[in-house]
Amino acid sequence: MVSLFDKHLITILIFSPVFWAICCLFFNKKNTQLLRVFSIIASSVTFLLSCLLWKRFDIHSADIQLAERIEWMPDFGISYFVGIDGLSLLLVLLSTFLVPIIFLSSWNYISSKVKAYTALFFLLEAGMIGAFVSLDVFLFYIFWEAMLVPMFFIVGVWGGPKRIYAASKFMLYTIAGSLPMLIAIIYLIWQYKSQFGVFSASIIDLYQVSMPMDGFFSAQSLVFWAFCLAFAIKVPMFPLHTWLPDAHVQAPTGGSVILAGVLLKLGIYGFMRFAVPVAAEAALVYSDFFLVISVFAIIYGACVAFVQTDIKKLVAYSSVSHMGYIVLGLFSFNQIGVTGSIYQMLSHGISTGTLFLLVGILYERYHTREISVFGGLAKLLPLYTIVMVIATMSSIALPGTNGFIGEFMILQGAFLANWPVAIAGGAGVVLGAVYMLWLCQRILFGKLKTPDEKVRLDLNMREVAYLAPMIASIFIMGIYPRPFIQRMEKSVDYFVTNGLSADYSLNVQYVSDLRSGSGKKSSIVKR
């Protein structure tokens, strides 16, 4: 028998943070220590729940697994439909992995309105998980938008001096992208209705919708671009990236980590799950455009990062550059490129997350992020320096770190797809090394110089405690990538072989069909 717990594992995973958020409201305002401890324990519980997904996940299948479907608005084909496959599993894990770390890192940094901060972060987590596991476009849209509000508050309430500007910009940019997507979603649902006679908002059904593709103003192309606009703003891709540095610089450390670590990945995930398979012809037609623009983003991001005087802004622009690689890998549309793309999403989440945490640590001590005021920190903060160097190495894709695996695979994939683009992308790797190493050289080495002579604290136990898992995963993923790649392999394979053809369809394994002992029975969605 399948227990109730197993049956609703994903639902429990989505709504456990909501439950924690409600719990937060009952804490005494004065007793913030207790609340902090609670937040760390509760988010760890959610992480452990997500580890169950890892365990239950069948690596030999490209199907949607552990799916759950409940009718919601049956007259309009809208259902609560969630499930995971190789594309989403690891991203869910990344989200739940980062949240406890963020809570630990915000221990001192967030001193006002801790209750609200904690509750909002839990809501944000629920939104992220929900967006990754939703297989119903309506449900996806709800999570996608609902996620905005906590992030808006996190940047706007606990952010830096220009936080209101940054928060509003973030909000408006994202909504500007998602409203056209909403129209595209509604259009798709109606097209499905007119082609198949019934309503359905399940993305697996919507893959079947056939739309004409001839020229930019044909239906398929417009749907594709409507989705792309939403996802490209989130990624963010080159001309639409201007909200990112503002949001990153103003956001509190935790906000930056989750923004770089997970929210940006949602854009890429959206391409993989929605934009590309729904409008496959359009995706193929315009893939060259995306390849070129992503290479441009790689180089542009690197160049802009190079001239920054603020460490956080530098890391933010490095994100623009790194996200360029991930788009490059995705739009090369071959096994190795897409695998690299997903892998790089994880490693970028961890390496950039670590960098933001480190910037936050520095800021907590010296209340500035200017590069020019620091120098020779290696003498003062040896432990900090070690972690910083490791994170930098991961960021510039040194072999042995997770960044190497991802970028190597992406460039390999890009070579197969379009070699001139890949060469240009390779040049970006060099640029990336230049600005990151130069940053390290300026602040860590050379003559000792700090804004405040009295502050000479190296990492304390708490900081070590939350940096250690990050560093460990940098090395684990760098040295032994197999378990991760194994889990995405089948899905990616299926995605690249079928995702771009008209008859892309995913099988769904509902949990209720599973019988322990008798193996897994898959129920195939019709059509």
């Binding site: 905005l148 509000v149 209101i164 408006l172």
Partner: protein, 500 residues
């Protein structure tokens, strides 16, 4: 004609059953009027008694409407009124919103020192007028009902009679409303002149049959004049000019009544008339129908644009909500454009969250605005987030819902509205609506920004009223979220009601 000459009619049992909500409110308003003439009562303050009486009557009306949902639709009084699901939907709607507003009124009116017991009578009379209006199948009946509603509201606007702004608003509204009513009545008389009837069913029959009368320019002129009357009531550009001033001058609680219940009632009558004029006649669809569709398309677009862009510059929350109401009128006009069934059901669905989020927002405003609504400036919201976290939280939910963000009712309403528009092939107007609602996000989140993110600098006036206004806010939050997360029953309600 014979039916008009002979005034004898009988009321069947089925009609009685369907008339219950209407009679409850009609008779109830008179009872409340009588109660309010008492000098003293055995139970203390007469206003308390009147308040409870009004609440009770609305409650009974709501219960009767709910009980009447499963009844057969009938037409009563020789086909003058249609007691159908459409009518009943609005009965439910008016009684429920009336309860919400009455609950929020007591403490507010007390704090403003304008707690006259006539307020409740007028409110009930307005609701009675609205109920008649949604039922009427006859232009004259509709006009009389409209006037019952309007006259009551003219007085309500000027309720705070020592305030110059309120007086200005009342006079403005009365004069302009009078002109609009006159135009509408003139239009009705022209229609009567052309078709020799004011019964909507007869009119639509004649339009389907066609003939010379249909091409009579007087008919077409009359139709457009009736249209103008409705466009004024629902505040569509360019007939929206009165809205911000009147909304600003009126007491907040009356503003909330006007921007939600009155607007919805006008839309209901609008739908009733417009669907019979345009939806039924084949000939008219080709001629006037196409023209009026184009006209409505343009007006809807301009209304959305004007409402949203002007709202961007508002610093007075009442005016901000007034312009946001204009913008929402523009969205609702898309539903009119889409037409029967899908379009109308999406309008009906839209109205539920629209009403609760506005009533809720105004109720909160009523709690924090000081004497004479002085504190309606957006700056006065600074620090609300930390001083009154629950109020601020509720206002945040209402603002997000007004902006159409999930998981709130505002999103679901917009989703189904756009869905209806796309089904009908109205792509361009949907895109414009999308673009303008992006603009609207900015001014709605501005309210949130002021509540949570600005430094506190002003001494916010203390919470004026607690008590029952909290019930209003709690109910509004509940319905806003319920329509956002579990909208199925509301969707069904709206779909059934739109099949008339």
């Amino acid at each position: 004609m014979s039916s008009i000459n002979s005034f004898s009619f009988s009321i069947s049992a089925a009609e009685w059953m369907n008339l219950r909500p209407l009679l409850t409110i009609g008779i109830g308003s008179m009872v409340v009027l009588l109660l309010s003439t008492l000098k003293t009562t055995a139970f203390g303050d007469k206003r308390g008694v009147v308040f409870l009486g009004a609440l009770l009557i609305l409650g009974i009306g709501f219960a009767f409407s709910l009980a009447g949902w499963s009844l057969e639709s009938v037409t009563a009084f020789n086909g003058v009124v249609a007691l159908d699901k459409f009518h009943n939907f609005f009965n439910l709607f008016f009684c429920a919103s009336g309860i919400l507003i009455v609950l929020a009124s007591y403490k507010y009116l007390e704090a403003q020192k304008i707690h006259y017991s006539e307020y409740y009578t007028l409110l009930l009379l307005a609701i009675f007028g609205m109920m008649c209006m949604t039922a009427s199948l006859e232009l004259i009946t509709m006009f009389v009902a409209l006037e019952i509603m309007s006259l009551a509201v003219y007085v309500l606007v000027g309720l705070s009679r020592l305030d110059r702004k309120a007086n200005e608003a009342a006079v403005k509204y009365f004069v302009l409303g009078g002109v609009a009513s006159a135009i509408m009545l003139y239009g009705i008389s022209m229609v009567y002149g052309a078709l020799n009837t004011t019964n909507l069913i007869d009119i639509s029959k004649q339009l389907i049959i066609g003939g010379d009368a249909v091409f009579n320019p007087v008919l077409i002129l009359g139709f457009f004049m009736i249209l103008v009357g409705f466009l004024f009531k629902v505040a569509v550009f360019p007939f929206h000019i009165w809205t911000p001033d009147v909304y600003e001058g009126a007491p907040i609680i009356v503003t909330s009544f006007m921007s939600t219940v009155l607007k919805v009632a006008s839309f209901a009558a609008f739908i009733r008339v417009f669907s019979l004029f345009v939806g039924s006649g084949t000939l008219l669809v080709e001629n006037v129908g196409a023209l009026s569709q184009e006209l409505i398309w343009i007006l809807a677009v301009v209304t959305m644009v004007v409402g949203n862009f002007v709202a961007l510059t508002q610093n007075n929350l009442k005016r901000l909500l007034a312009y946001s109401a204009i913008a929402h009128t523009g969205y609702l006009m898309i539903g009119i454009l889409v037409g029967p069934k899908v379009g109308y059901s999406s309008i009906l669905l839209y109205m539920i969250p629209y009403a609760v989020m506005n009533i809720g927002a105004f109720a909160i405003l009523g709690m924090i605005s000081g004497k004479l609504d002085k504190a309606c400036k957006i700056e006065n919201l600074t620090g609300l987030g930390s001083r009154h976290p629950y109020l601020a939280g509720a206002l945040t939910i209402f603002m997000l819902s007004l902006a159409g963000l999930p998981p709130t009712g505002g999103f679901v309403a917009k989703y189904f509205l756009f869905s209806a528009a796309l089904e009908a092939g109205q792509v361009s107007i949907s895109l414009i609506a999308i673009a303008t609602s992006l603009v609207s996000v900015y001014y709605y989140i501005r309210v949130i920004i002021f509540m949570y993110m600005k430094e506190e600098n002003s001494e916010l006036s203390p919470v004026a009223s607690g008590g029952l206004a909290w019930a209003t806010i709690a109910l509004c939050v509940w319905v806003t979220l319920q329509t956002g997360i579990f909208p199925s029953q509301y969707i069904n309600l709206a779909r059934e009601a739109a099949l008339f």
